[in-house]
Amino acid sequence: MARKLPMYKAISEAIAQEMEKDNSIFVMGEDIGAYGGIFGATTGLLQKFGNERVKDTPISESAFIGGALGAASKGMRPIAELMFVDFFGVAMDQIYNHIAKAHYMSDGHVKMPIVIMTAIGGGYSDAAQHSQCLYGLFAHVPGLKIVIPSNSYDAKGLMISSLRDDNPVMYFFHKGLMGLGWMPSPDEAAVEVPEEAYTIPLGEAKIVKEGKDITIATVSRMVYEALWATKELENEGISAEIIDLRTLVPLDKKALIDSVKKTGRLLVVDEDYRSYGMTGEIVSLVSEEMAHNLKVPPRRLAYPDVPIPYSRTLEKFVLPDKDKIKIIIKEMMK
C-alpha cells in the first residue's frame, strides 16, 4: 500500500524498518531522540527502539561521528545525524581523514558501514552558516558515497540502500523538501511511498521529465525549479529533459551522456557553490566525452561564490531559481 508521505516521514520510516530488521543499526546525533530530529528525520524512533539505539548526544560532533567509526569497526552500522551540513567543520577530520579512508588505508580489511545524514539548503533566511549545501566538498574526497534525494519515494529507497551499503554514505536532505509544516516545501516532493521496504540502487539517476532540446542535470530542490522553468518554456516550444542525478558518488554517467547525446545541449543547475564543484565536474565530464557533439557550449547555474546572505532580497538574488534557469535556457536555444 502506498500513501503520500512527506520526505521526513519517508526517511524515518526507512530507518525504522531497517532497524527492525538489523540490530546493528543505531542512531546518534543532537536532538534526534524525543525531538525526532530538528528536521524530523528520526521521528518516532526513540519511542520504537529506546535510548540505547536512539542516542541523543552532547553537542560534540567529533566525538559522536568519530564514535560512529569506532562502533562500525566492531560490527555496528551507525547512523550519525549532523544537524546542519554547515557544522561539518568541527568533525571533518573524523569524516574525511578517517571514515572515508579507513577502507582504503587498510586495503579493504576494515569496513565502514556508516550513514551520516545531514540537512542542506537555504531559501529561508538562515544566512551564511545554516544554508549551505556543500555536498560537492564531500564528493571531492575519495571514499564517501554521496546521496541527495529530491522526493519522499527516492528518500526512502535511497536511505534503505544507504543503510545496506558497506561503505560510508553521506545522505543530504534538503530542509526545503522535507514537508515540515513550518518550512515551505514543494507539494511535488511529497509523493506516494510504498509501506514496505524497497531499495533504489546508488548510482542510478532518474529522468524526471523527458525532452529533446536540452538536458538539465541537477539534484535536490533544484529539480523543482528546473521543472517549473521547463513547464513555462513548453509554451514557447522548448522541450527540456531533466535528470535528477540522485547520487553524485557513484554518478550515473551513462544516463547523463545518453541524454546529452539526444539533446546536444547541457545545463547543470546546482544550489551548491559554483567554483570547483558539481557543476564544473559534470560539465567537464560531458565535455571530455562529447564536446564536439554539443550544439552549444555547456552552461551552469549555481550559487555564485559568495557566502549566503541573510536578507530576503539578497538571498533571492543569488539563489538559483526557475527564472534564472529560463533565462539561460533561452540563451542556449537561440
Binding site: F26, M28, E52, R53, K55, T57, P58, S60, S62, A63, F64, I65, G66, G67, A68, L69, G70, A71, A72, S73, K74, G75, M76, P78, V90, D93, Q94, N97, H98, A102, H103, Y104, M105, S106, D107, G108, H109, V110, K111, P142, G143, K145, D166, N167
Partner: protein
C-alpha cells in the same frame, strides 16, 4: 608487586625488549639510502618514522590486561602499542617497508596500521583516537559485551577538542574506555608546560567525574597495576578512566629531528630512568631469571626481529595499479 606472577613479569620483559630492539633496528635502517644528504623520500623506509623507544612500559603495562577482542586505537607513534597488542609483526614490518605483504599491502604505512584480527588501529592525526575508542565503547554497550577500548594519545593530544568531547561522552554514558595519555613532555618541540594549563592531564579527569591517575612510565609494574584497575572497572561497566604515564621519548619526534629543543644532557639523564633496564634489574635481583637465560632470551628476540626485517626487505612492492583499488567495498 603483589599479584604479578613471575611469568607475567618475564612476558612483559620480553615484549618490552622486543619493542626496543625493533625500534632501534628500524631507527638505523631508516637512514639507509638517506645519505650523504638527508632525503626523506629515499631508502627502504621512506616518509616519516616516529619511534617509541623509552615508552615501552605504557604499551606493555596496559596491553597485558587485554584480549584480542579488546581494542586499541593508537597514534602516529604506535609501534609499541601494536607489538604489545599482538599485531602481526611480520605484516606490520612489511607495511612499514611499503611492501605487498604488508598489513594493508602498502597502502597505509607506519602511521596507518590496521589489524582487525586483534582490534588494533592507529592514525596520523593528533587526537583522533579518542572518539574512535569511545565509539568502540558504545558498540560494546549496545552489544552487551565486555570488551574494552583503549584510546592512546600523547600529552599534546590532550589539548585537542576530541579529547574533552570524548571524556565527557564516555563518562556520561559510562563506556568501557581507558584513555591513556603518554606524557613525553614534548608536543614535537613545544614543552608541556608551554602548552598545557595544568601540570598533569590526569587532573582533567576531575572535570568529567572519572578517575584520573598519573603514573611513572619508568616502572612498568606501576603502569600494569594502574591499568589493571582501569580495565577491570571498564569491564564491570563502571565507566572510563584516564591514565597519564610519564615517559621519556629516547629518540626525536621523528627520525631526522635535530632535537634543538632539548640538550644531550637532559636526554642522557632521562635514559637513566630506562623502563627496560629497570625491569631487567628487578628480574635479575629477584632471581626470576639469571644472566645466562636473559641473554638467551634476548638473542632469540633479536633473531626473530632480524628474520622479520629480512622478510620485509625481500618482499615485493605492490603492483602500481593496485593504487586504484579498494577505495570502496564492493559486494
Amino acid at each position: 608487586m603483589a599479584g604479578i606472577s613471575n611469568e607475567t613479569l618475564l612476558s612483559m620483559y620480553k615484549t618490552m625488549y622486543k619493542i626496543r630492539t625493533y625500534e632501534e633496528a628500524l631507527g638505523s635502517i631508516y637512514y639507509e639510502g638517506k645519505s650523504p644528504a638527508f632525503d626523506i623520500s629515499a631508502g627502504p623506509i621512506p616518509g616519516e618514522l616516529h619511534l617509541s623507544s623509552g615508552q615501552e612500559a605504557t604499551a606493555v603495562g596496559v596491553c597485558t590486561h587485554l584480549n584480542p577482542e579488546d581494542a586499541v586505537v593508537s597514534t602516529h607513534r604506535a609501534h609499541h602499542f601494536a607489538i604489545a597488542k599482538g599485531v602481526s609483526l611480520k605484516e606490520m614490518t612489511a607495511e612499514i617497508f611499503g611492501k605487498a605483504t604488508g598489513l594493508s599491502s602498502g597502502k597505509g604505512g607506519h602511521m596507518h596500521l590496521f589489524d582487525p584480527n586483534v582490534n588494533f588501529s592507529c592514525s596520523g592525526i593528533v587526537g583522533a583516537s579518542f572518539p574512535q575508542a569511545t565509539g568502540i565503547g558504545i558498540a560494546a554497550k549496545i552489544q552487551g559485551k565486555d570488551y574494552v577500548a583503549v584510546a592512546v594519545g600523547g600529552d599534546g593530544a590532550a589539548n585537542q577538542g576530541t579529547f574533552h568531547e570524548s571524556l565527557n561522552l564516555a563518562a556520561l554514558w559510562k563506556l568501557p574506555v581507558i584513555f591513556v595519555i603518554e606524557d613525553n613532555s614534548w608536543a614535537i618541540s613545544v614543552e608541556k608546560d608551554k602548552s598545557t594549563s595544568v601540570g598533569k592531564n590526569s587532573e582533567r579527569a576531575k572535570a568529567y567525574g572519572i578517575p584520573g591517575v598519573y603514573v611513572d612510565g619508568a616502572n612498568v609494574i606501576a603502569v600494569y597495576e594502574i591499568a589493571k584497575e582501569a580495565v577491570e572497572r571498564a569491564r564491570r561497566g563502571e565507566g572510563p578512566s584516564l591514565i597519564e604515564v610519564k615517559v621519556y621519548r629516547f629518540r626525536g619526534h621523528f627520525e631526522g629531528d635535530p632535537q634543538l629543543y632539548r640538550t644531550k644532557e637532559d636526554l642522557e639523564e632521562a635514559k637513566l630512568k630506562d623502563p627496560l633496564k629497570n625491569l631487567e634489574k628487578q628480574l635479575i635481583d629477584r632471581k626470576i631469571i639469571n644472566e645466562d637465560k636473559l641473554k638467551k632470551t634476548q638473542d632469540k628476540i633479536e633473531m626473530e626481529i632480524a628474520e622479520i626485517i629480512e622478510f620485509a626487505r625481500q618482499s615485493p612492492y605492490p603492483e602500481p595499479k593496485a593504487a586504484l583499488e579498494n577505495v570502496f567495498h564492493r559486494g
